[in-house]
Symmetry: C2
DNA sequence: GTTAAGGTTTACCACTGTGGTAAGGTCAAG
DNA sequence: CTTGACCTTACCACAGTGGTAAACCTTAAC
């Protein structure tokens, strides 16, 4: 009955895909909490390639792909960059990895976050000190603007 | 002798500009700690327009412009966005401003920074907890990858 | 006067990660 | 067969910065 071409290039219809437990991009989006837009973007970065395409060129995802997309989402939620996620994903799929490699990446990312936190906290402190000295009423004089302009550093010509 | 066209469109040479205490973009960059690139970018955003141009179309900055550029740099150093800086600069130059307007902007920015700090700290804590549980040796099993992949959530097919 | 070095001009492209839009093809239900 | 929801690709946008290139200007040395 099925004179299928033996290769994986059999014409695949969407209904077939559903029957086989495969997913369209919209379903993948719902299953992962990502948007279709983001999934296509991650594909363009080489992170997730759909298992197949239907006759109509629709992307078709396997359960395995869904897990990978969830992995990416979780890593994004931890603040990893796409580059770091690419490495993490390859480590994840490499059964010969060493946990030291993963931990190294994690510690580097923690340090990056520490630096950003520190920088933000410094800015926050400087600005909130200034805001604390600003009366914040209808009058124009304002320590915040004074500090930004460094009014004491020059003549206001 | 000088039959200059009376308008401000007298041909201006770079040497003239220097004699008048005016500055080229490179000098402005050195005086402010910005790059020429950034100064042109700020101009494209409508923040700083050079006072004049030389005959050769070189940008010419007045001392007043230098102060404005320093203002922008300081505000950037406090983490304000370009849009916020545009408002801050207009408030700075508006002698009828109320300090309440400035303070409101500052407090909003502080809140934005607080949110970013909080988000970073949450990610940092989650990841450092995971890293603390990762032995980080040559073995492949790794709580960090487990958590990202949520291995307990599905069968590893 | 010529030349070389370095400053300046505009106009591009890159990054990061996401959102939007548009013009078109496809699928399922009525 | 129409309608609406979905999918496709290909653009533009954000915020700031860095980079490049080709062409022009200025200055100083020779």
């Amino acid at each position: 009955m099925s004179s299928r071409p033996a290769k994986s290039t059999q014409p695949l219809e969407l209904a077939d895909a559903h029957a086989k437990g495969l997913h369209s991009i919209g379903e993948a989006a719902k299953l992962t909490g990502l948007t279709a837009k983001m999934i296509r973007h991650y594909e363009s970065l080489g992170l997730v390639t759909p298992t197949d395409r239907t006759q109509a060129n629709y992307r078709v995802y396997q359960t395995r792909d869904i897990y990978l997309l969830r992995f990416i989402k979780s890593a994004r939620d931890l603040g990893f960059s796409m580059k770091q996620i690419a490495i993490l994903a390859s480590l994840w799929q490499d059964s010969a990895r060493s946990s030291a490699e993963v931990k190294k990446l994690a510690l580097e990312h923690i340090q990056e976050m520490d630096e950003r936190i520190h920088s933000l906290q410094q800015m926050r402190k400087a600005l909130s000190d200034l805001a604390g000295r600003c009366h914040g009423d209808e009058r124009p004089d304002c320590p915040i603007l004074d500090a930004i302009a460094c009014n004491s550093c020059h003549n206001t010509d």
